[in-house]
Point group: C2
Chain length 229, copies 2
DNA sequence: AGCAAAGTGTAAACGAATTGACAGTCATAG
DNA sequence: CTATGACTGTCAATTCGTTTACACTTTGCT
């Protein structure tokens, strides 16, 4: 089990903090373990804590009365979530759930905001991070409205491939992903995803087995997806 | 025609700047007029300027090859846009178009970022503004995925009503809005919007004429929309 | 007043994705 | 190794919104 300072060090949001600043942050942190499936916070909750993943993965999602689920992301170790840190007073739009057994460091939102005022050199990094999230969110909105399911799924696959494979081999990329999970990410049904996936497979661009998808030629998939618009 | 300082003063993003800081911002600004329909910048363009509306209204939108349009917002005087200010290097996701004849003050992104480092007391306001936009964007994503068209339109109407009518009379709110415009905002067709609108009207919650919608009882509409989920 | 342009109502045909239902496959623990 | 639970493929029925097509208002300009 790694120590608090190490975890803080892995979080890109806090990368602008000096060692001294990080040290003053420690008293504002508390670490907590969650078992798979446990709710870290539900959608709509009023808190402004910052959460940093120390171990395991966390699912950012929400669901409506009919049981339909919308998943925004699955975050890995080092990632931060709880975007209301800097807009306290707003309810959490999405909730957070332990996707696996995991450990999360929670930082007091108020404490962090105060701390930043004392160490303003960290602001540019924070602003950059939040701004990037905004950019991503706007991309999602655009895709949702402007593109059909096939293009959306294709783009999502490419995005996931990008995450799982830093070295951009132009060769195939393979990663674990159930269709059920993908369906939730896309706000679609398992069956709907299946049909689209089979269609893309028919173009020879992907292959898929049990809990796994392989993009045989990422570059060509990208071209195909762009051709759909 | 109001002067640069006045305009800067109306922009909530820059509300944290001292008078001195605002003065040093002036050399980084240039004002430009656009006629209705003119493109301020297209989607995908690589710039990181901040834009502030001095006169008229601006449409934030994007469209695909098939001519389908997605509109994110219509902004009024004083509002800012150009969300890549703090994530330079990313292409603009949406474009900006003059919705009417208008005048826009553009502030150098790089200049603004540098200026903030000299006046760090303005950071909290900036961060708050960007963070709120992120919150709104996430709300839109959630609505798109989780809600049906009727609930989405209902929520959008309530949001628009909120903008046009600060005093929250529980009495009716009326505002100019063509169905065509609403359709673009929602990523739907004019006919689709029409059907939904007629349905909500049948509940006695709204009325609509030529270029205008009236919410007869906002509170009840809200209750109705929430009941749909 | 008169005309063009923008906005609107309506309805049938179509299509895409969900719903619901069921049998089959894989993986891991006991 | 077999059982259980999670994941998957498939298909018909259905729902919802788009497409297509056309006639009708309203507004603003000359």
């Amino acid at each position: 089990m790694s120590d608090l300072l190490t975890i803080i060090g892995t979080c890109p949001l806090l990368a602008g903090l000096s060692e001294e600043a990080k040290a003053s942050l420690l008293p504002l942190c508390r670490s907590r373990a969650y078992s798979a499936g446990e709710i870290i916070y539900p959608p709509g909750s009023m808190q402004s804590n910052l959460c940093i993943i120390a171990e395991g993965r966390v699912r950012i999602c929400s669901s409506n009365a009919k049981g339909r689920e919308a998943m925004l992301a699955i975050l890995d170790v080092g990632a931060w979530f709880g975007d209301t840190v800097f807009s306290p007073g707003m309810p959490r739009v999405f909730g957070a759930t332990a996707h696996e057994d995991c450990r999360v460091v929670e930082v007091s939102g108020e404490g962090l905001r105060d701390l930043l005022k004392c160490f303003p050199e960290a602001y540019p990094v924070v602003l950059d991070q939040v701004s990037r999230r905004l950019w991503s969110a706007m991309s999602v909105i655009q895709d949702d409205v402007l593109r059909g399911t096939e293009a959306r799924i294709g783009r999502r696959l490419l995005f996931l491939a990008h995450m799982h494979n830093r070295s951009d081999d132009s060769s195939g990329v393979s990663f674990a992903l159930t269709r059920e999970l993908l369906a939730n990410m896309m706000g679609m049904t398992r069956q709907g995803v299946h049909r689209v996936l089979k269609n893309i497979e028919a173009q020879g661009l992907i292959e898929f087995e049990y809990g796994r998808v392989t993009i045989t030629d990422p570059a060509q998939l990208e071209k195909y997806v762009d051709g759909l618009e």
